[in-house]
């Protein structure tokens, strides 16, 4: 996995691949935010995506989660064609997302935000009849512990700091217990120690789950120790280990040329 060569696309679509993008383009008013992008993420794989601002990293997540329809290309999750499904259906297939700008429900408490994210029947009647079981409470408390928000359980999300909002959204992602986690710039606004903690957390989750992490912070990406994909101008520029891509002349040019 560290030679930097991606396998030929056709061959790689085996049972082990969870996420499969092929020839994906997104055009906004003539501007190509994604340009013929192909990407494969295997089961249990941890993948880091880096690239300059505007490279299309967030747009790629939008395409996977049904927020944006690709202008062309194939987007599959296991056997599902994601280009035909809406956001809620995609989420229920087992794809969870943490947004670049942490987004949660400000009028609700930390606990309630996590409770809404907790994997459970989602229909109106099921929600009306929902009673918090001891098991569910323990899961929520465990996640609060994990993301360091136990003391803020009863505080409304509106009064959290930026870093705590990042943590809350990571917590919500954990509650969903998805098969594929898309994590957009999780450590922005975190201290070094928190960044380390996040890296360790993501590494731990991967293996059981597939995780795609977008991040600028190269130290953080190094700590993940995963395969790295470099995006630039909507296309893949390079792929391989962090050392491989950092020494790739094209990557150096993009990063230093800016």
């Amino acid at each position: 996995m560290s030679d930097g060569l991606s396998p030929p696309l056709g061959a790689a679509r085996d049972a082990a691949s969870v996420l499969y993008l092929d020839g994906v383009s997104v055009v906004f008013d003539g501007f190509r935010a994604l340009n013929n992008l192909s990407l494969i993420v295997g089961a249990g794989e941890l993948r880091a995506i880096i690239g300059p601002n505007g490279a299309g990293k967030t747009t790629m997540m939008d395409v996977i989660t049904g927020k944006t329809r690709p202008t062309e290309g194939v987007v599959r999750f296991r056997d599902h064609d994601l280009t035909r499904l809406d956001e809620a259906t995609i989420a229920n297939l087992g794809i969870g997302r943490k947004f670049q700008k942490p987004t949660m429900f400000d009028a609700l408490t930390v606990f309630e935000n996590l409770e809404l994210a907790l994997k459970a029947p989602r229909g109106p009647v099921a929600c009306l009849r929902w009673a918090l079981s001891g098991e569910a409470r323990r899961r929520i408390e465990a996640v609060m512990e994990e993301v360091g928000l136990t003391a803020r359980s009863r505080d409304r999300a509106a009064i959290l700091s930026h870093g705590q909002r990042q943590w809350l959204e990571i917590g919500m992602l954990l509650m969903q217990d998805p098969e594929l986690l898309l994590v957009d710039e999780p450590v922005a606004g975190m201290t070094d120690q928190e960044t380390e903690h996040t890296a360790a957390l993501l590494v731990r989750i991967a293996g059981r789950r597939s995780v795609v992490v977008v991040e600028h912070d190269l130290e953080f990406v190094r700590a993940l120790g995963s395969k790295v994909t470099v995006l630039c101008e909507g296309s893949m520029l390079s792929e391989g280990s962090i050392d491989h891509v950092q020494n790739d002349p094209r990557v150096i040019e993009v990063y230093l040329g800016r």
Binding site: T103, G123, P124, C127
Partner: protein, 364 residues
């Protein structure tokens, strides 16, 4: 009015105080019909006017609750709830018309007067069944519910939100008003229905009927409040608040937002329909003017004045604004619309959380 202005439910002792106050208010209302039976020279005597006006306001309060459930919690600002209310009223009105039977001016055994006058030979098919009270009551819920389901489905599925949705609901009630004004619709046109005689064997306009309708309204109010608080305190209530504040984010958690919005909108319309069904026998008349877009806007203003997203605020708003209206329309009838507009502007600018926000501020 930004969504984040809505207040969280008052906590702890505030909540208890509120409950006690509400219990007191309900008990106070509950004794009104009894006080009405006292001899007129008794100090505690309550006039017929007070009883019938309070009965009417209770139905308004149910309408306000319905609006608050959709608007205050789920962020669905319907400016057409007057239509659901009026449709419920028409359904019961049709029943009341059928019960007149041969006692009409023309003495026709089946056809209501206006149909005889317009030369109808027989009852239109959609009037069948309305001679049975349970059927009429069912229709008072089903017709508003179905209309809300269709309008809501089309709008929510296409992700029409905010002011665009409000405009659609205004158009809906306006279109219904125009339709019901037409004589060939078979709903009495301009004049609507009136001259009702009886309901469930009780002659209307008697103290017995008045207090029965009053207590029925009060019971529906208490039940509606219980239902709405059950919803808003459940996880569904929190999903609705989440939809109100960040609709798209809720989708990424796997909630089918269209279904949740539809659920609450239809339920809200059914409650409004039931309120209308209790309103019409108490006021003794229903006509297409009740569909006028202004009525729906006025009902939303009750909720805004009382404080949305609290349920209690909706009740407070419905009673206080209507008390003001009743008083003002006797002393200076021309001023009412200006007062209503001014009140809305003032609340928006100075009391974003409404009267209930003011009360809880003062309580602190």
């Amino acid at each position: 009015m930004s969504a984040t202005l809505a207040s969280p439910p008052p906590a702890g002792s505030g909540r208890l105080t509120l409950r006690l106050l509400m219990l007191g208010a309900v008990l106070l209302l509950a004794v009104l019909p009894a006080l009405n039976r006292l001899p007129a020279d008794s100090a505690l005597h309550v006039s017929d006017f007070i009883v019938s006006v309070s009965g009417k306001w209770i139905t308004y309060a149910i309408l306000a609750l319905a609006i608050d459930l959709a608007w205050g919690y789920a962020g669905i600002l319907s400016l057409g709830h007057g239509a659901f209310f009026t449709l419920g009223g028409y359904a019961i009105g049709m029943h009341l018309m059928r019960l007149i039977g041969p006692r009409g001016v023309y003495g026709h055994p089946v056809l209501p007067d206006f149909m005889v006058f317009l030369g109808y030979k027989e009852l239109p098919w959609y009037w069948l069944g309305f001679d049975h009270f349970p059927f009429a009551l069912l229709m008072a819920m089903a017709v508003p519910g179905l209309l809300a389901a269709v309008v809501g489905y089309l709008a929510f599925r296409s992700r029409i939100t905010g002011v665009y949705f409000s405009i659609i609901t205004q158009a809906m009630t306006y279109a219904l008003m125009l339709a019901f004004f037409r004589n060939d619709m078979g709903f009495g046109g301009n004049n609507g229905f009136t001259d009702f005689k009886e309901l469930l064997g009780m002659p209307l306009n008697t103290p017995t009927a008045r207090s029965a309708l009053f207590y029925a309204s009060l019971a529906l109010l208490v039940l509606s409040y219980a239902l709405c608080s059950r919803i808003t305190q459940s996880k569904l209530g929190r999903v609705l608040v989440a939809i109100r504040d960040a609709e798209s984010r809720v989708r990424f958690l796997g909630y089918d937002v269209t279904r949740h919005k539809l659920f609450v909108f239809v339920l809200s319309a059914v409650l409004a329909g039931l309120a209308g069904a209790l309103y019409v026998p108490q006021v003794g008349i229903i006509n297409p003017g009740e569909f006028s877009p202004g009525n729906s806007i006025e009902a939303v203003i009750w909720v805004a004045v009382g404080g949305r997203g609290t349920l209690v605020g909706a009740l407070l708003g419905a009673f206080s604004v209507n008390a003001l209206k009743t008083w003002l329309t006797t002393v200076a009838p021309d001023l009412w619309l200006f007062a209503l507009g001014g009140l809305f502007v003032a609340v928006t600018l100075f009391l974003p959380r409404g009267l209930i926000g003011l009360v809880s501020k003062v309580a602190k």
